[in-house]
């Protein structure tokens, strides 16, 4: 019992276990899961990432003025919702040109505020995809 009392007392003079975020940066591990980054001119528009994504955070939606790319025969545009993404990297594992077209960076997403229209804008894209 006395040893625990001494330990509890000495704990009072130790550094806190917690990190004072955001004053001090959080240590990022080698395996840190950051934003998924997309390079348009490497993409072959196979749509495998869209099918593999568990929460549906990647959509290829039809648009009228797509970026010129020979592979983009259906005039699609890549859309990504970082606030829906769970950073599991299923899309990168499904991508035939992984490390070129789709990569995982060590960047964090911004905090999604109301002004970003995180939900409502994305719902419109989902409906556009379904052709509603």
């Amino acid at each position: 019992m006395s040893s625990q009392f001494i330990k509890a007392f000495t704990n009072l003079f130790k550094k806190p276990q917690t990190t004072t975020y955001p004053q001090d940066a959080i240590e990022r591990t080698e395996n840190y899961r950051g934003l998924i980054e997309y390079t348009e001119n490497e993409c072959i528009y196979c749509l495998k990432c869209e099918k593999a994504c568990p929460p549906g955070a990647i959509l290829f939606v039809p648009c009228e003025d797509p970026v010129p790319n020979d592979k983009n025969k259906k005039s699609l545009k890549y859309e990504y919702n970082p606030w829906l993404c769970i950073y599991c990297t299923e899309c990168i594992r499904a991508c035939p040109k992984a490390e070129l077209a789709l990569t995982q960076s060590d960047k964090k997403p911004q905090i999604g505020v109301k002004g970003d229209r995180v939900n409502s804008e994305w719902t419109i894209l989902e409906q556009l995809k379904k052709g509603v």
Binding site: M1, Q17, T29, N31, R33, P54, P55, Y87, C88, T89
Partner: protein, 362 residues
């Protein structure tokens, strides 16, 4: 003293109870004579979503969201039940990495429970200390999987990330440190009056009651019932890595604490054995086909037996998914333990059950 019966509710929001569960106690003076329970406060319809919104190969990520503490056990149990309906073979390396994550998860889950037990004994300093000691284990899991809580580490065919040599060294160092700390804690839980005398004989469950009311996990093992899925199935290589079943007698809070502490030591041994002998091989293999037929799979979660039932008919969507969680199955035993106890002991007894309502209501 009057014989009047008073109804006292505990929950669904209570100062000493973190989980959204409601117990309605009928008390005669200070003594609990009858208990009524309600667990459905956080129902999210996950089972239904798994059969209507998500394809079978994405469900491992969905069911991980059932629970924050045993996320890895949920995704592993689903994955293994789906794999039994598909064609393919998981490599030995992937199996070892899966067990490593499950056992690390068990260590930090048990430590969380022990910290809450000490907090309920009025021992705030020990609560802080155990939570601090638990942090290196969370960091190890982050180093292995990339995430601190929702690991998204297990998928059909194997695991998503390989383990590097530097992480293996980190695991060895952290576990060695933790072993010393747990041995000190065992001494503390045995000899400190606040934790030993206070809890001896409180919230006891006899062996016969444990069998009768279907107690699971550490609650059953503390009552002397030898039940552990890890020793009952050969799907994961537990026999090769030094698994030993831990049981105790008495079935009270003290015995439950002891079972948990010794299970942590056993899990540390298993993790050390895994890290020192990970076999060579692929981390992921391809599985063919779509789930066809029925599968029932069990795995030992930190709180007891977790069971998944999967039914598919060669379609991308499953026909049925049923999750039976350990806390839900143990509710009859919980109710039985409360009967005859003093009301003042109810929060301490409840903390020693380590209930997970997020799992239960899903």
């Amino acid at each position: 003293m009057s014989k009047k019966i008073v109804q006292i509710p505990l929950g669904s929001q209570h100062i000493s109870l973190l989980e959204p569960v409601k117990f309605k106690f009928s008390c005669e003076n200070e003594k609990i004579i009858d208990v009524d329970s309600d667990v459905g406060f956080v129902h999210r319809g996950i089972e239904r979503a798994c059969t209507t919104k998500f394809k079978y190969d994405k469900i491992a990520y969905v069911v991980a969201r059932v629970c924050g503490l045993c996320a890895i056990t949920h995704s592993l149990t689903y994955t293994m039940s789906a794999e039994s309906l598909l064609e393919g073979e998981v490599s030995m390396k992937a199996k070892y990495l899966r067990v490593l994550m499950v056992e690390l998860d068990r260590i930090h889950s048990h430590m969380l429970c022990l910290s809450h037990v000490s907090e309920n004994a009025g021992y705030e300093a020990l609560f802080m200390q155990i939570m601090g000691d638990r942090e290196p284990i969370m960091n190890l899991q982050e180093k292995i999987s990339g995430n601190r809580v929702q690991f998204d580490y297990i998928d059909i065919g194997g695991v998503n990330r390989d383990i590097s040599l530097s992480v293996e060294d980190d695991i060895k160092v952290s576990l060695k440190e933790l072993r010393g700390k747990i041995e000190d804690l065992i001494n503390e839980f045995e000899n400190n009056y606040t934790l030993s005398l206070r809890f001896k004989g409180i919230g006891a469950l006899s062996l016969k009651e444990a069998q009768e009311f279907n107690a699971l996990g550490p609650i059953a093992r503390a009552a002397g019932l030898v039940t552990d899925v890890r020793s009952e199935s050969n799907d994961l290589p537990y026999s090769e890595i030094g698994f030993k079943i831990v049981t105790s007698s008495g079935g009270d809070i003290y015995a439950r604490n002891m079972v948990r502490l010794h299970e942590i030591l056993n899990s540390i041994t298993m993790c050390e054995n895994i890290v020192s002998g990970i076999p060579e091989g692929e981390i992921k293999t391809k599985f063919k086909g779509k789930p066809n037929g029925e599968a029932l799979f069990r795995l030992e979660a930190p709180r007891g037996e977790l069971m998944y039932y999967v039914k598919g008919s060669s379609k991308p969507m499953l026909d049925r998914l049923r999750i039976k969680t350990p806390t839900f199955a143990s509710i009859p035993a919980f109710v039985e333990i409360f009967k005859g106890q003093e009301y003042a002991n109810a929060p301490a007894i409840l903390a020693s059950f380590d209930p997970c309502m997020s799992c239960t209501a899903k």
